[in-house]
């Protein structure tokens, strides 16, 4: 056995060393950072949905990744309704109209995702809350809902739309924007798509932060997160707050759906939300679940570290890097980098 272990160890060491490449990281540092921030801001938007729901309900909404997927389909359907046909190539519509179409598509995606999130809350979670079900039951329901939403797009949607939406293959892309380099710094080329994604995502995240911290509705959400019973006694409608929370999370996921498809046009697939959802959830936990700014920080950090990790260890280590980072952070800060604090962390 010891000989065996020795031999195995040798193989292990060999394969690890050959993969370790600090030069690749150094040479591509800025380019990787730009890409990482782009994906990170999408993770962040989706992570906010997880974090808000968790903050209010202490529930891991596993079906949130499908809400994101619905957002992708929502914006795609909106573009089709506007008269765009899938061509796989970029449309040249001029500046103003591109903006208008993008905004309309984003609103469409947000509407579909927001509607799906609220619907999910109504159909799946509310009856459970009425019955005071334990947390694990919510989780299983979320898994069930996740199956239902995916299979709906997989099998039912193509029947309803005559094969135009859904099905086994990814949607043929409708590209509104052609990625073109805007400026350089270091060896990084920043293109318009990346700028749009980062600016829009940060803008939305900032707006959400303001919404939670500076409006009446936001105060309601924070109150329920902090102490649901007292908040109810003080006249906050808990059901409304919960619905609002799902709505905000869904809207952001829908917006993320559009931004993601700008970057990955052929990612519109029934199973396309799953991996991203898990990553976004990991990002939320990384930053401190229940903490809005934590989700933002976690998303950006995860996006960037994943790419650095791939440059260092090889592209196949992407997800390993993400999960190891998560585990390491939780070892030293058991409630995430910024800690839980939508209301205040419970003991």
């Amino acid at each position: 056995m010891s000989v065996l272990l020795l031999a195995g160890g040798h193989v292990l060491a060999g394969s690890m060393v050959s993969a370790f490449d600090i030069g690749a990281l150094g040479r591509n540092f800025w380019a990787l950072t730009v890409d990482g921030l782009t994906y990170g801001s999408i993770y962040a938007l989706v992570a906010v949905g997880y974090t808000l729901v968790y903050g209010v309900l202490r529930l891991i909404n596993f079906a949130h990744s499908e809400i994101f997927m619905f957002g992708m389909f929502g914006q795609y359907a909106t573009l089709m309704l506007l008269g765009f046909s899938p061509s796989g190539n970029a449309y040249q519509q001029g500046t103003l109209m591109t903006i208008v179409y993008l905004l309309v598509a984003m609103v469409g995606g947000m509407a579909v995702a927001g509607g799906a999130a609220v619907g999910l809350e109504r159909v799946a979670y509310r009856p459970l809350r009425r019955r005071g079900a334990p947390a694990l039951v919510f989780l299983i329901t979320a898994i069930g809902a996740s199956f239902v939403l995916q299979e709906f797009v997989h099998f039912v949607l193509p029947k309803l739309t005559g094969g135009n939406l859904g099905g086994v293959n990814a949607q043929q892309p409708i590209r509104l924007v052609q990625a073109t380099a805007q400026f350089h710094f270091g060896n990084a080329t920043v293109n318009n798509v990346e700028i749009v994604i980062v600016v829009a995502a940060l803008g939305l995240a900032f707006a959400t932060d303001r919404f939670i911290n500076a409006t009446k509705f936001g105060r309601g959400i924070r109150a329920v997160a902090q102490d649901p019973v007292t908040a109810t006694l003080m006249g906050v409608s808990r059901e409304r707050v919960i619905m609002l929370t799902f709505l905000v999370g869904g809207l952001l996921a829908g917006a993320a759906g559009l931004l993601y498809t700008l970057r990955v046009p052929s990612g519109i697939l029934y199973s396309g939300g799953f991996i991203l959802g898990i990553k976004a959830f990991a990002a939320a936990v990384l930053g401190g679940i229940g903490n809005l700014r934590g989700a933002l920080l976690g998303g950006l950090l995860l996006g960037v570290m994943e790419l650095y990790g791939q440059a260092l260890f090889g592209t196949e280590w992407r997800d390993v890097v993400a999960f190891v980072l998560l585990i390491l952070v939780l070892m030293f800060r058991p409630t995430g980098i910024l800690g839980e604090s939508l209301g205040r962390a419970r003991a």
């Binding site: 490449d21 690749a24 591509n28 380019a31 990787l32 990482g36 008269g83 061509s87 796989g88 190539n89 970029a90 449309y91 040249q92 519509q93 001029g94 500046t95 109209m97 591109t98 903006i99 993008l102 905004l103 086994v168 293959n169 990814a170 043929q172 892309p173 924007v177 052609q178 990625a179 073109t180 380099a181 293109n191 318009n192 700028i195 749009v196 600016v199 829009a200 940060l202 803008g203 900032f206 707006a207 919404f211 509705f217 905000v248 990955v264 046009p265 052929s266 990612g267 697939l269 199973s271 396309g272 991996i275 994943e306 790419l307 791939q310 440059a311 090889g314 592209t315 196949e316 997800d319």
Partner: protein, 414 residues
């Protein structure tokens, strides 16, 4: 939500600012079409004219071979006088789950052949029995005994994937049931001593060797990045390609991606860093299309080549203009127009990867049935001594179940 307008206005402002940038650049690339209000549909470009065109037929060392020609392909209709009863052909593969697209292509190809046969031969109605493995080896072990115990099934088209074939091969072998695969390309499958197993296409070795030699010798590339996914198929193909390329394959950009990935930023950076003449991808179109788009977006202009897993109309649809000029190989010949038209008429989709092989292999089994074969063992014997042309190529097997002469077609997206 609706009433907190000041904040929303702020959001809108920020987003508009961002989107203006997008708009600016679309103008700078476009040149044409300055924001006409009715022009949403007018902006479509030339991608609809792109398609996968056959370029050249090569042997395992990348040398050009003359097209076989001459012999006409076997027709499933036969002479219309076949007599048989209660005979069926089984099909095993992924019909649901993430890999369902390939399984469906195969099933449809077989159904088309059987349909043409049954229409021509009123006295011999063959049925297709489909068995869904979901591409999962354990599911396959549950399905295989059902196939074996269904005595009306005298021949099997499948299993579709190498993994499930590894898990179930001994079941079919012990039952003496003909197992003709239209898609499992792992070279190891024919080394198990299964005398009932035949591969209807060249394995990874022949296809990978051919394209690698073609890239190195004919196209004259000096630096090639080999990228692979984590499927049995992709790993096998990329390994053979890298081995044949030898020093031409650059190890620093040998990126490995996962099946299901859509975002390849790091791989693009690696390739950009190495600035190769060409990129070879071993894997399926679902990943190849976004990979190629992102390579082009990242400013990589190197040529792109891939195997039969990418040789699907869906690849061109999803990658759009980025797919232009891509080299795609396939051990399969181009499908004749009539086949494509018949297929489209029956299933209202275009034939995909492995549809032609499935049709040909189905036809071979039907030929045997038309000869009056009713026993499983006789069909195995019939296939092992079969020699005839199909739509895609000439079918004749050696003693291990590999095609005797496996030539590879190189296609290009034009």
């Amino acid at each position: 939500m609706r009433r907190s307008t000041p904040r929303l206005a702020g959001v809108a402002l920020v987003m508009t600012a961002g989107l203006v940038l997008a708009g600016c650049s679309s103008k700078s690339t476009g040149g044409g079409g300055g924001g006409s209000t009715s022009g949403a549909t007018g902006g479509s470009s030339a991608s609809s004219s792109l398609s996968i065109q056959p370029l050249v037929q090569v042997d395992a060392t990348g040398k050009k071979v003359a097209a076989a020609g001459g012999s006409t392909a076997a027709d499933p209709a036969g002479d219309g006088s076949a007599k048989c009863s209660n005979i069926s052909i089984g099909m095993a593969g992924a019909l649901t789950g993430p890999n369902a697209a390939l399984g469906t292509n195969i099933l449809n190809g077989l159904k088309l052949a059987v349909d043409q046969h049954n229409k021509a031969n009123a006295g011999c109605q063959v049925t297709v029995k489909q068995f869904d493995t979901e591409g999962d080896p354990q599911k396959a072990t549950q399905v295989a005994p059902q196939i074996v115990s269904d005595t009306s099934v005298i021949g099997l088209l499948g299993p579709a994937f190498s993994g499930e074939t590894k898990a179930t091969g001994s079941i079919f072998n012990q039952a003496g049931l003909l197992s003709l695969t239209a898609s499992a390309t792992n070279p190891g499958l024919t080394t198990n001593g299964w005398n009932n197993f035949f591969r209807g296409l060249g394995n990874d070795n022949s296809q990978g060797g051919a394209i690698a030699s073609y890239m190195k010798d004919t196209l004259g590339y000096k630096k090639v990045c080999v990228i692979q996914d984590d499927s049995d198929y992709g790993i096998g193909l990329a390994t053979v390609v890298a081995k044949t390329l030898g020093s031409v394959a650059v190890s620093s950009c040998n990126a490995k991606v996962k099946t299901g990935d859509k975002d390849f930023s790091a791989a693009v950076q690696l390739v950009k860093d190495a600035s190769p003449d060409a990129v070879y991808y071993g894997g399926y179109y679902a990943e190849a299309a976004p990979l190629l788009s992102q390579l082009r977006q990242g400013g990589v202009t190197a040529a792109f080549a891939s195997g039969d897993g990418t040789n699907d109309p869906e690849f061109v649809k999803q990658a759009g203009d980025a797919s232009k000029g891509a080299y795609l190989t396939c051990p399969c010949g181009p499908a004749p127009d009539k086949f494509a038209a018949d297929y489209k008429a029956m299933f209202s989709v275009a034939p995909g990867v492995y549809s032609v092989e499935a049709y040909d292999l189905g036809t071979i089994m039907l030929k045997g049935i038309d000869k009056g074969i009713t026993a499983r063992g006789d069909l195995v014997k019939f296939v092992s001594s079969y020699d005839g042309a199909g739509l895609a190529k000439n079918y004749k097997w050696d003693s291990t179940g590999e095609l005797a002469s496996a030539s590879t077609w190189v296609y290009q997206v034009k």
